[in-house]
């Protein structure tokens, strides 16, 4: 059934179709309408779930995790300061290996107060052990929530997962979205699986002090290994979803017009749509350019990216957040994994769209042509390999 849905409603529909049993969340712009919608589904009896209307995000994730620990499929959603407030619980949830799904509607972090999107919040969670993905459009939001439950609950993975969507650009923008039939989702998503359930009469203890620190490091190692194993699961799940619905997103990355591309753009999130438009125009202008859309930040698709970049003459990575004192986090990951796989290619970082600055396809074309022209005229690196874009054609340095 095709319906016009905002990104947030698409997220709510994803949770509903996944037959979530417990929802727990705290309002924050631009996430709010996800919880409002879920509350409406539940109160109307359209969704058989309990809702815990907590007093903070720390509690939102605590309660969702508690429910998941008790054996029920649980869902929460947040953004920005809410995500930071939860940060401690993100570590606990991943460390406990209890499957769980959260939507993160990306938003700038203050000060100053600012509700527009950038990726500072979601990128700040990279080390927690969660699976983390970003969506490009509302259909991908809905599909990814359902998929994330399947990935998270796969015994090869058993890790919680975040589905990210850009605030306002997706969360409050209506697009036609195909809502799959419940029985399609039921066929796709099996009964919940999890490594253990805390229940009465079974004296299982979660999280007490280890007698041997090697057990602790092995737990951390096992999270890392499961992230690696998740790559295969993500690809399989994508293929299986494609068989049922005809929609594939390529697993961890989507390559757009990468065949015989000489140069590559790398980006993630909603502005990938603008990047695709930029690629089409640049191709018409005669630039041999392709795009690698990063869907998963964790696990990071190092192999796919290195493989694509192996034949590249130049790469430009757009980051919507920055690690001050270093560079854009996506850039840093691309750089390291290219290096790990022995790929040597000029890689430029553009820090743009931070603080919600609007970036359109023309801005992207501006950055890309500046980079390619510099490369071809032997002027690269530009004054810096890490450039800021403030919008309106203003670059630094």
């Amino acid at each position: 059934m095709i319906k016009p849905l905002t990104g947030n409603y698409a997220a709510a529909w994803g949770a509903r179709l996944a037959r979530v049993g417990v929802v727990s969340a705290y309002p924050i712009t631009p996430q709010t309408t996800i919880v409002e919608k879920l509350a409406e589904f539940i109160e109307r009896g359209e969704m058989d779930a309990r809702i815990i209307r907590v007093e903070s995000e720390h509690s939102a994730l605590s309660a969702a995790w508690g429910a998941a620990l008790g054996g029920v499929r649980a869902f929460t959603a947040t953004a920005s300061h809410g995500l930071l407030y939860m940060h401690e619980m993100l570590w606990w949830a991943a460390g406990s290996r209890i499957p769980l799904v959260m939507a993160v509607v990306t938003r700038t972090i203050g000060p100053p107060w600012n509700i527009w999107t950038d990726h500072s919040d979601i990128m700040g969670q990279r080390d927690t052990g969660w699976l983390i993905m970003m969506s490009e459009h509302n259909q991908e939001v809905l599909d990814s929530i359902i998929q994330m439950f399947k990935i998270s609950e796969d015994p090869k993975v058993f890790l919680p997962g975040i589905v990210g969507l850009d605030g306002f650009i997706l969360s409050h923008t209506t697009e036609p979205v195909d809502i799959p039939d419940q029985d399609v989702v039921d066929r796709f998503l099996p009964e919940r699986r999890q490594p253990y359930i805390l229940k009465p009469g079974d004296p299982l203890i979660m999280g007490n002090i280890p007698s041997d620190l090697r057990d602790n490091v092995k737990m951390r190692w096992d999270i890392h290994r499961s992230q690696e194993r998740a790559k295969g699961v993500i690809r399989d799940v994508d293929r299986e979803w494609a068989k049922l619905t005809g929609r594939s997103y390529g697993g961890l990355v989507e390559r757009y017009r990468c065949d015989n591309a000489k140069y590559h753009i790398i980006g993630m999130g909603a502005w990938v749509g603008d990047m695709k438009e930029a690629v089409d125009i640049l191709r018409d202008m005669g630039y041999g350019i392709g795009l690698v859309k990063v869907r998963y930040v964790r696990p990071f698709p190092g192999e796919e990216i290195a493989e694509t970049l192996a034949s590249s003459k130049g790469v430009i990575v757009f980051d919507r957040s920055v690690s001050p004192g270093s560079a854009g986090p996506l850039y840093l990951d691309v750089l390291s994994h290219a290096y790990i796989h022995g790929v040597r290619v000029p890689i430029q970082n553009v820090l743009a769209g931070i603080a919600g600055i609007d970036v359109g396809y023309d801005d992207i074309i501006g950055g890309v042509t500046m980079f390619i022209n510099a490369l071809e005229e032997g002027r690269w690196p530009l004054p810096s390999k890490i450039q800021w874009y403030f919008g309106g054609g203003e670059w630094w340095p």
Partner: protein
């Protein structure tokens, strides 16, 4: 219908090999939780001494199902667990076992939230009147005059009235208890377990390490707190306060033991003077007067 300890289940929930200090009140309290609730109990335990008392993984000195959780998260985790138990149709009692810090300070907003929502949880505040796990720092439940490692000359502020604050949340059940009165505590736990909604039990738990007394005297110190009127045992079902039988005699201040008996067995009050003692006595009178207004 007096409860006899002999009639309680024999199964042990606090096992040899646990890592409690000698004379530990938290280990004593946990024993009574086992006796009261048996296999129905699931414990949610934030950071604090009981994180250590459990002993080292993969072994364990406690035989409850336990979720160890971050310091400020317990009642929210418990709310989620209780929703899960309900959804799965299991017969369990979710017990948050939190220290005075985990209850009255860092965990306070979470606790208040769960109480206001009426989540089906028993919160036990095991009150040793300081942050013991990190080395005896003051909390908002440390009493006036007490030495801690962050109040070297004695705490200048009084103890927060946690049980009354919880009473004002209008939850169905609020009680105080003491590790010196096991039958009273066990009965209260059982009463709480039979009620739906949020239940709060505040367990007074003198700690030999932090209060500076001989570990063989834990129960004696706890009993003196009640006998001097310093700690009042009561119970409030649906807001109706009733002083518990063990505290009833001390409503009459003439029947209270001298406060000095309680203070002098503890090293933490060594530095206080006469004026401080008078001040504590008037605080005790205040506490009784306030509480009796609710009876």
């Amino acid at each position: 219908m007096a409860l006899s300890i002999k009639a309680l289940p024999k199964k042990k929930y606090v096992l040899p090999g646990n890592a409690a200090c000698p004379g530990c009140p938290e280990a004593i309290g946990l024993k009574y939780v086992g006796m009261a609730l048996g296999d129905r109990a699931i414990l949610v335990i934030p950071a604090g001494c009981t994180s250590v008392i459990q002993g080292l993984a993969p072994g364990s000195g406690l035989s409850f199902p336990i979720a160890n959780v971050p310091f400020a998260s317990s009642d929210a985790v418990a709310a989620g667990l209780s929703a899960a138990i309900d959804a799965r149709g299991e017969d369990g009692v979710i017990v948050v076992w939190a220290g005075d810090g985990g209850t009255a300070d860092i965990g306070f907003a979470t606790l208040s939230g769960a109480a206001e929502r009426g989540d089906n949880v028993i919160h036990v505040c095991v009150d040793n009147e300081a942050y013991m796990n990190t080395g005896i720092q003051r909390s908002s439940l440390t009493p006036y005059g007490a030495w801690t490692t962050t109040t070297w000359t004695g705490k200048r502020e009084g103890k927060k009235e946690m049980p009354l604050i919880m009473l004002m949340h209008r939850v169905p059940y609020v009680a105080t208890a003491s590790i010196a009165y096991p039958t009273d505590f066990i009965e209260k736990l059982r009463r709480a377990a039979d009620m739906k909604g949020f239940k709060y039990i505040h367990l007074h738990a003198p700690c030999p390490v932090g209060w500076r007394f001989n570990p063989s005297k834990t129960v004696e110190v706890a009993r003196l707190a009640v006998q001097t009127g310093m700690w009042i045992l009561f119970e409030a079902i649906n807001g109706r306060v009733r002083i518990s039988p063990f505290s009833l005699p001390y409503k009459d201040r003439k029947r209270r033991k001298p406060l000095e008996d309680y203070l002098k067995v503890q090293g933490r009050f060594r530095g206080i003077g006469r004026e401080d003692i008078e001040r504590i006595k008037s605080m005790i009178d205040d506490a009784w007067n306030t509480l009796l207004k609710f009876t």
